[in-house]
Symmetry: C2
Subunit: 193 residues, 2 copies
DNA sequence: GTCTATAGAAAGATAGAC
DNA sequence: GTCTATCTTTCTATAGAC
């Protein structure tokens, strides 16, 4: 591969290096999944060698855990006014799955890493704590936990078809058609009281 | 691992061996995903060595293509009376994601193999041809292709959370709660006329 | 704080014997 | 028709130098 020769020389600083590795890992795991990327490539994109990954994080698995914690740290989408929840979720999932959307996304990281059993265990805990819990407390009526998880399952499925598989029906769908139908499905899961 | 010593001695027959490898591959890719299993293990479970995989299928990628073709060959779930579609899909997805359900399933194979870009390409074509197309022709109203893909996306998302991630909210959910809410989401995607 | 060098395992694929 | 043996590459992780 390419030598990382043109990178701006970071200071020899443990904290800065650790952070560079962590950001590189977040992007790499989101694009390629846990099994689809090696620590060599992650380190190279951060401008260091693979040794430092294990020095600062112990192992690939622990690096993944740290990257997941960052990926799932923003749960603002699942807070706010419950009456406009379906609208906000629909807008967000369409925007996040456009062709030119940010490739760093917690649910893309989840989809692409879940096939690895150890990664799945780490992800289960993080998504429950950061996404299922706040979303559940926005839902009224019975089975709030189940419905919160189902909403996340549907969002994940849409990401799978629009970004990972690249199903033509969904990548080429009109915005209006996407909006109406995705929102109808969300509404079916939200209005249960 | 374990030597395949107690297996019934197959005849030295190309067709039978090819089929044994194919069935072993179908099960292995469904349980572990494309990147989670090696040709050595697939061959061993079929009672042969890895050489024969390449001999009969050319490469791991071509073996995967053949396994996918089998996995997606049964599309009866997406045929029949449109008026009971939501009910049938809901029953099927709950049954397929029970704890003791058959681990061989086309959408589990899809979820666990999609992170690999070459596998994703093969899967995109197969799911469009075998699942999206028949389901689309059952749907009335506008955007039938999009809605068919969204229904499959939702089913995939449920499999992801119930079988791959193991989200507690969905693995421990009551059957009645699951049924009501999953069906409501399907209904939102089906009734658009 | 970061490197080179390397150990040790496992992957996909092939040559050539029987 | 099927095998053993091997090539080549890639992976995670570590020892030890500077």
């Amino acid at each position: 591969m390419r030598k990382a020769v043109a990178l701006p020389k970071r200071a020899r600083n443990a904290a800065a290096t650790r952070d560079a590795i962590l950001q590189s890992a977040l992007a790499a795991f989101s694009r390629n999944g846990y099994d689809g990327i090696g620590v060599r490539e992650i380190a190279q994109a951060a401008g260091v060698t693979a040794v430092l990954v294990n020095r600062y994080f112990g192992s690939k698995e622990e690096l993944f855990g740290a990257a997941v914690e960052i990926a799932f740290s923003d749960s603002t989408l699942f807070e706010g006014d419950p009456s406009s929840l379906a609208h906000r979720l629909t807008e967000a999932v369409i925007a996040k799955t456009e062709k030119d959307a940010d490739p760093i996304d917690p649910l893309l990281l989840l989809l692409r890493s879940a096939p690895n059993p150890r990664a799945a265990e780490i992800l289960r805990e993080s998504i429950a704590r950061h996404f299922e819990r706040p979303l559940k407390s926005l839902l009224m009526g019975p089975c709030a936990s189940e419905r919160a998880a189902m909403i996340l399952a549907f969002i994940s499925g849409l990401q799978l078809f629009r970004k990972v598989i690249g199903s033509k029906a969904l990548t080429d769908g009109t915005r209006a058609g996407l909006y109406a139908n995705i929102k109808a499905a969300f509404q079916g899961l939200i209005d249960r009281d």
